[in-house]
Amino acid sequence: MTLESVARKDFRDALRSRWLLGLTLFFALLIGGSTALFYGVLLSGAGANSETLFGLTTAPGGLFNFSYAGMLGFVLALIALVTAHGSLIDERESGTIKLLLSLPNSRRDVVFGKLVGRTLVVIISMLVGFVVALFAMLFTGGQVMFVSYAGQVALSGLLATAFVSIGVWLSATSASQRQALFGTVGLYFIFAVLWSTVATGVPRLVNWVIEQLGLTALTAPQIVQMRLFIKYLNPLRAYETLVAELYGPAVAARLFKAGLGERLAIEATFSEALPFYFTGPFILAILLAWIVVPPLLGYRAFQKADL
């Protein structure tokens, strides 16, 4: 199985470069450290459980929202993109890919071997962070809700994998390291910043066009649904709402961070029956699609490329 030997070689390279070590320390400090700080200093003693930090923190009246998952998602996405964006283009630019492909490795083995190797690097370092956090909670007397916690770790792994996939796609389709770097910055900006603007803007634009045509404008619930649908196509948001669902009902998870007006417009409809495209399994399928589709597109481009 040469996919395996490509993955193993790639992983060993990450070990040698101390990238894995650096990431492990980073996640231990970030996840473990923030947990220790939260339960050790801010909220010590009885009544503290893992939901307090990892679940949804919403102040009354929706004035203030904080989600640990949202923050962790941003960080994981960035780390995964940085880890994966050079996976293929670096080897192409240096010429090591010619050694790799002089041996009986297929291009498929190379693309998916890289995907496996880089995913392991991000996931292993992330897991260490979560394990440190677990111990931090146990030592400070916090109560750990193991099922939700395990679910959160698993979802975080899926999100990291999705962004490694996107990074590998980027690396496979780029013609230079510079292009891959710009692509990384651009994609991150799209997922982290631009997407919500688009999600808000598209329904408005559609509504404006409909009004120009003299047709019946969209209803408020329709506008909210359209915005939410676009929003949850973003793997970062899909991840966040899936984590929220670990700690509460699906409707609340889908409307997490929604404004008061939007809640009033849609909550009743959702509580009656959540449309299938807002159910947990559907959102999970979106997240999984981000894992599967980008490497296939990347493989297709890489398969055709002259080295």
């Binding site: 070689k9 240096s94 010429g95 090591t96 010619k98 002089s102 009986p104 389709t173």
Partner: protein, 326 residues
């Protein structure tokens, strides 16, 4: 069965900058034809020297054998397999020393060789391969990032030899090697050929291939301009001469070129350099004088193999350069 078989192979490179450029319309002006309608074959067990100056299309041809680059048209078969569709099957039985490669900085020399052995599912002893190419155990345990060009070249050769391949494809194997290293390289090529392997290797220096090759092909501007045995090339030495004539006045170059037995005509200031057969010499001088110029002096050499190679490869399409036909 032929070990390598190219049939009407053309490779045009579009100036494609990838993702972003692919969105723009491409123009033909950006395209370069690196290999043009190339047809030749290499028999099993043969040692084939692939000659030509840099940029002649040698590496592009080799890259098509290995599926690094895809032909625009034509078919490439290696060891009976389609080079593109069945590339992995080709590479399972082929040892490759590619051009423009780099070693993995953080892996040791031995790890490189172990990786090659593992990928080919072979059972070679890595130390034996390393010592064959002249890397001692101390060097093999160092990370390859610190290797010199010559050491990298030896390491890549060791990787190519893993699994006793049926075909060795070596792209400029002597580059980066000192003369002693180049000789060791030739010894290895001979040993592999004696074992029964087909060897296909490229060089821009004739001297490196003439001692080991059964047959050579010479590339220029993407075309194979000659394909012959070393003996065939040598036989040209006996018949070919180089005539250097110092001329006063304008020589009638076209008249000289048109003569029987004249293979090339070149000018260097007032000097005329003519490649021709021995019996054509006097006709050349007569033609120059008949054209109204005066022959001040002349000398003649018999052509060396190197001269023939240079005559084949150094010309371009501008006037006054040698025009040689195979």
């Amino acid at each position: 069965m032929a070990a390598i078989e190219l049939n009407g192979v053309t490779k045009r490179f579009e100036d494609d900058e990838g993702l972003f450029d692919s969105l723009l319309p491409s123009s033909d002006a950006d395209a370069v034809t690196a290999v043009d309608d190339l047809t030749f074959s290499v028999a099993e067990g043969e040692v084939f020297g692939f000659l030509g100056p840099n940029g002649a299309g040698k590496s592009t041809t080799i890259n098509m054998l290995l599926d690094f680059v895809r032909p625009t048209s034509g078919s490439v078969r290696v060891l009976g397999h389609d080079a593109q569709a069945e590339s992995v099957a080709v590479r399972r039985r082929t040892g490759v020393l590619p051009e423009g490669y780099d070693v993995y900085d953080r892996l040791t020399g031995r790890e490189h060789v172990e990786f090659a052995i593992e990928s080919k599912e072979a059972d070679d002893d890595p130390d034996e391969l390393l010592s064959r190419v002249g890397l001692d155990p101390d060097e093999a345990d160092r990370r390859a990032g610190g290797y010199s060009k010559g050491m990298s070249q030896r390491l890549a050769l060791a990787m190519a030899l893993a699994g006793s391949p049926d075909l060795l494809v070596l792209d400029e194997p002597s580059s980066g090697l000192d003369p002693a290293g180049a000789r060791e390289m030739r010894d290895i090529v001979r040993t592999e050929a004696d074992r029964g392997a087909t060897v296909f290797f490229s060089s821009h220096v004739l001297g490196q291939v003439e001692a080991v090759c059964d047959r050579v092909g010479i590339m220029r501007d993407g075309e194979l301009i000659a394909e012959d045995t070393i003996e065939g090339l040598r036989s040209r030495i006996e018949t070919d001469s180089v005539l250097r004539i110092d001329v006063d006045g304008d020589a009638a170059l076209d008249a000289v070129r048109a003569l029987d037995g004249v293979s090339s005509v070149e000018t260097d200031g007032d000097r005329l350099i003519v490649g021709c057969t021995d019996d054509a010499k006097s006709r050349v001088i007569e033609a120059v004088e008949a054209g109204g110029a005066t022959v001040a002096d002349f000398e003649t050499d018999s052509a060396s193999l190197e001269d023939i190679f240079l005559a084949y490869t150094e010309g371009d399409d501008s006037a006054g350069e040698p025009e040689v036909t195979a």
